[in-house]
């Protein structure tokens, strides 16, 4: 089970009111390589993992991704919460506003809603962990794109933290893949 802790994983700071940037950040709220995809992907893959290390890492990284999803929602909210309607009109955020107002909603930067088709769980731990390593790299690239697109120093600070986490997760999934492959190879000899 899960329990909510009343704190963010990172102290989010937003220095400006910038609905156009909020629309771009939504990529990581509901896009294919975003935090929601990551969390649901890893947590769905746990049942068929053959080793305790793999069950542990998918549980803990999957849980951390949900904390990152909360951080992204907070960035989006802070960027638009005080925006007068005139500052929203004519920006890419206006299309989001038409349906959702200032509430974050899981779609990508182009408005495509989140779908489970973004992820997979294959009942094959090597396949799943290889997907997970690719997912971390794709998310790292997305964060680098978003950092280039951002002019807000507070937002950049948080995006840099999230980018670093992708690097750490990639490392841990690589170690897990090696553990699982060793386990499978050992099994063949007995």
């Amino acid at each position: 089970m899960w329990i909510y802790e009343k704190k963010l994983e990172y102290p989010v700071r937003v220095d400006t009111c910038d609905p156009a940037l909020a629309a771009l950040i939504l990529e990581q709220f509901g896009g294919p390589d975003g935090e929601l995809s990551a969390g649901i992907r890893y947590l769905s893959q746990r049942w068929t993992m053959p080793t305790d290390q793999a069950k542990g890492i998918l549980t803990d990284i999957g849980t951390e991704e949900l904390a990152h999803w909360e951080i992204i929602g907070t960035l989006v909210w802070r960027l638009v919460k005080d925006a007068p309607i005139d500052k929203i009109k004519g920006t890419p955020f206006a299309a989001h506003f038409a349906n959702h107002g200032r509430s974050p909603f899981p779609h990508d930067a182009a408005g495509v809603p989140w779908t489970a088709a973004f992820i997979n769980s294959k009942d094959d731990p090597v396949t799943d962990l290889t997907e997970d390593m690719a997912a971390e790299q794709k998310a790292r690239t997305t964060y680098e794109h978003l950092i280039k697109l951002s002019d807000d120093p507070g937002v950049i600070d948080t995006l840099r933290f999230l980018r670093e986490r992708e690097v750490v997760h990639f490392q841990r999934f690589g170690e897990t893949l090696r553990i699982v492959e060793d386990f499978q190879n050992t099994k063949k000899f007995y």
């Binding site: 329990i3 009343k6 102290p11 803990d60 951390e64 802070r78």
Partner: protein, 88 residues
Amino acid sequence: MHNEQLAILKELMEVGFCTIEMALFLDTHPSDERGVGLHNSYAARYKELSETYNMKYGPLTSNDLSKCPWEFINGPWPWEIEYINCCI
């Protein structure tokens, strides 16, 4: 949120992050004694800080102790806090 409360919360967030990072490392290095020792020292500090926070400012989770009326719902919620006001 007052500065003193924010200072404890931010330390709790820092130490909490250290336990997350150590847990991920230990998931794939479960026999690393130095790692487990480091994790345990962060976990002990976290427990200490969360008990202090809980007593002074109310529950961080719904299974912490609360005065009446139920304090868990008291704002600001994490996404509403201005973290920059803190001087630590």
